[in-house]
């Protein structure tokens, strides 16, 4: 160290402490994002790429719409799986590790409110999922687009070289190709499916963050969050029991507990509908986003109450 005259500036004017500071949150989010990226999570992208490309070439015996549907199914299912994995495992690593490594001490000894710390962690993981989904979506859309184009070219070639007994048969075949491609090809509506996957992952991140505030280990956080996710898939069934007329007291009580404590993950499962070509109105997506915010607020509040009282 410089011994001649250590140049330590005397204490000077401090930036005025703000009770809530978005730049602080973003700093924590950026740190979290960097941490996860440097864990080489994006190597998963290679697996995804392999899955998508394999799906685009596999099973050429299937009909046009069958091939396109298979490609969409594999890609969207992979996106869903990876985003859930990032949401649970990525979040589960953060707080327990920060406590174990005592990195949390050095952060909370700065003027950083605990709520901002939680928000920063949450945003970091959400941003990672967002970037991952963008990359996966771009790759998937490109492969689907190219597959669609090659199918159209092939079908046009067939139609041009075939003799049809009547105009009706020719028009019917053209309509069939068009329907198969527009029904199963690349559409803006598919992006609604990707958005729904993203929103579901956000809710899952919030849930995992809540669990990690009281969990003693990463493994416990992961297992508990997985269990919550599975139960959440059946929450709508419990809600129907609760709100229905048929159930007796005990099942209704259990159904009530599940309905009130667990999020309804089924409400985000519109991927199947999107794959079959059902149009998703913008209002429905807006409501889904609104519900996501509701879940996030509830879980974040509960997480903050626990974490703010946690002693380190």
């Amino acid at each position: 160290m410089a011994t001649a005259s250590p140049d330590i500036s005397p204490p000077g004017p401090y930036p005025r402490h703000r009770r809530f500071s978005l730049p602080r949150v973003l700093t924590l989010a950026g740190g979290t994002f960097t941490q996860l990226v440097r864990m080489k999570v994006f190597y998963f992208m290679a697996l995804f790429a392999v899955a998508v490309i394999a799906a685009s070439f596999a099973f050429a015996d299937l009909q046009t719409d069958g091939q396109l549907k298979l490609l969409k199914d594999v890609s969207l299912a992979s996106m869903s799986l990876f985003s859930m994995l990032f949401a649970i495992a990525g979040t589960a690593l953060l707080i327990p590790r920060d406590i174990e490594d005592r990195t949390l001490y050095t952060i909370l000894c700065k003027p950083v409110p605990r709520l901002e710390y939680l928000l920063g962690k949450l945003l970091g993981v959400v941003f990672l999922i967002f970037i991952s989904l963008i990359l996966m979506d771009v790759l998937f859309s490109a492969v689907l687009f190219l597959k669609e184009k090659s199918i159209i070219a092939e079908q046009i070639n067939i139609l041009q070289n075939r003799q049809f007994a009547s105009r009706e048969l020719l028009e019917a075949n053209i309509a069939a190709v068009s329907d198969a491609v527009t029904g199963q090809g690349l559409t803006w509506n598919l992006q609604n499916g990707v958005i729904a996957i993203f929103l579901k992952a956000i809710v899952l991140t919030g849930v995992t963050l809540l669990v990690s505030t009281f969990a003693s280990s990463t493994i416990f956080t992961i297992m508990t969050s997985l269990a919550i996710m599975v139960i959440g898939q059946a929450q709508s069934i419990a809600r129907d029991v609760l709100l229905g007329d048929d159930a007796s007291a005990v099942p209704r009580l259990i159904a009530g507990g599940i309905s009130l404590l667990f999020p309804d993950f089924k409400g985000f499962d519109i991927v199947d509908a999107v794959v079959t070509g059902s149009a998703v109105p913008a209002l429905v997506m807006a409501k889904m986003a609104g519900l996501t915010i509701v879940y996030l607020v509830i879980h974040l509040m509960a997480a903050y109450v626990i974490f703010s009282d946690k002693e380190l």
């Binding site: 160290m1 250590p6 005397p10 001490y105 002693e311």
Partner: protein
């Protein structure tokens, strides 16, 4: 000079409940009180498990007090804004190992509200200060213990805090580095920065601290100016130049009257911190040596 103490701890008690069916508890800190004036270097010493870390954690808001209050420059230490005046270097510091040295300082600087060009300048300044410019762009996972300690020190003072808390700052650092850290601590004082130093290296505490608090089994058994604590009141030292045995005898006789022998120093003899430590904790010399190791 401000009359508000840098640190004010009043009747601090911290009780931990053990997770047993008998609802047992451990009193880690038992009704301790002390103030630290601004610009002082305060040594907090005690054996392992004595309550030093608990006291520091309560001061830093990482733990709640069961009873009592802590304040930093007049602000309740439980408040988040009190920490803008505090820098902390924990024992065996761990930072995000995936960050480089430069990124680490930038990260903590941003958390303290420093951004842009001032942050860049401050980061460069501190990297030079702790002599880590050559390793600034390497990840912390490749740093040695000493390097981690130095980067930890840099992050502790990045926002120019008025109070710096150092928990075993020279642990694992070689003698040369240790000396440099000592010099840095002394420089902090010249800048008016208050330092709380917790260390097992009693010689070091003796070298730099103005005041010392000795915590033992949760209680503050001794506290005060180092010079006061280390003086033995019932003895007097006399320093003589060119004294002969006769003069020595005459000095004794002079106790009753005056003599021409030049008297260089007359005062109470000083014990060592080690001995003082042993006296108050009831340990043996072997224990003290072990402790010093």
């Amino acid at each position: 000079m401000s009359t508000v103490p840098a640190v004010s701890i009043q009747n601090l008690t911290r009780v931990f409940r053990l997770p047993t069916l008998r609802r047992e508890s451990v009193t880690a800190v038992d009704d301790i009180s002390f103030d630290i004036a601004p610009g002082q270097i305060y040594g907090l010493i005690g054996p392992n498990g004595s309550g030093k870390s608990t006291t520091m954690k309560v001061l830093l808001g990482l733990l709640r007090a069961t009873k009592g209050k802590c304040a930093i420059f007049g602000r309740d230490s439980a408040r988040v804004d009190s920490r803008e005046e505090v820098g902390f270097l924990p024992e065996n510091p761990y930072f995000y190992r995936h960050l480089t040295g430069r990124e680490t300082l930038a990260f903590y600087g941003k958390l303290c509200g420093i951004r842009g060009a001032p942050l860049k300048e401050r980061t460069a300044e501190l990297l030079a200060l702790v002599e880590l410019e050559h390793a600034a762009d390497r990840r912390l996972s490749s740093y040695s213990k000493g390097m981690l300690q130095r980067i930890g020190l840099a992050q502790a003072i990045i926002h120019r805090p008025r109070l710096v808390v150092l928990d075993e700052p020279t642990a694992g650092v070689d003698p040369g580095g240790s000396r440099k850290i000592r010099d840095l601590i002394l420089t902090l004082r010249t800048q008016g920065i208050t330092v709380i130093l917790s260390s097992h290296l009693l010689e070091q505490v003796q070298e730099v601290c103005d005041r010392v608090g000795i915590i033992y089994k949760g209680k503050l058994v001794r506290e005060g100016l180092l010079s006061d604590l280390m003086s033995i009141e019932d003895q007097t030292e006399i320093l003589l130049r060119n004294a002969t045995p006769e003069v020595l005898a005459a000095v004794r006789a002079l106790i009753a009257g005056q003599h021409t022998t030049e008297l260089l120093h007359l005062g109470n003899p000083r014990t060592t911190l080690e001995r003082l430590f042993l006296d108050v904790t009831g340990g043996s010399a072997a224990d003290a040596r072990e402790y010093v190791k």
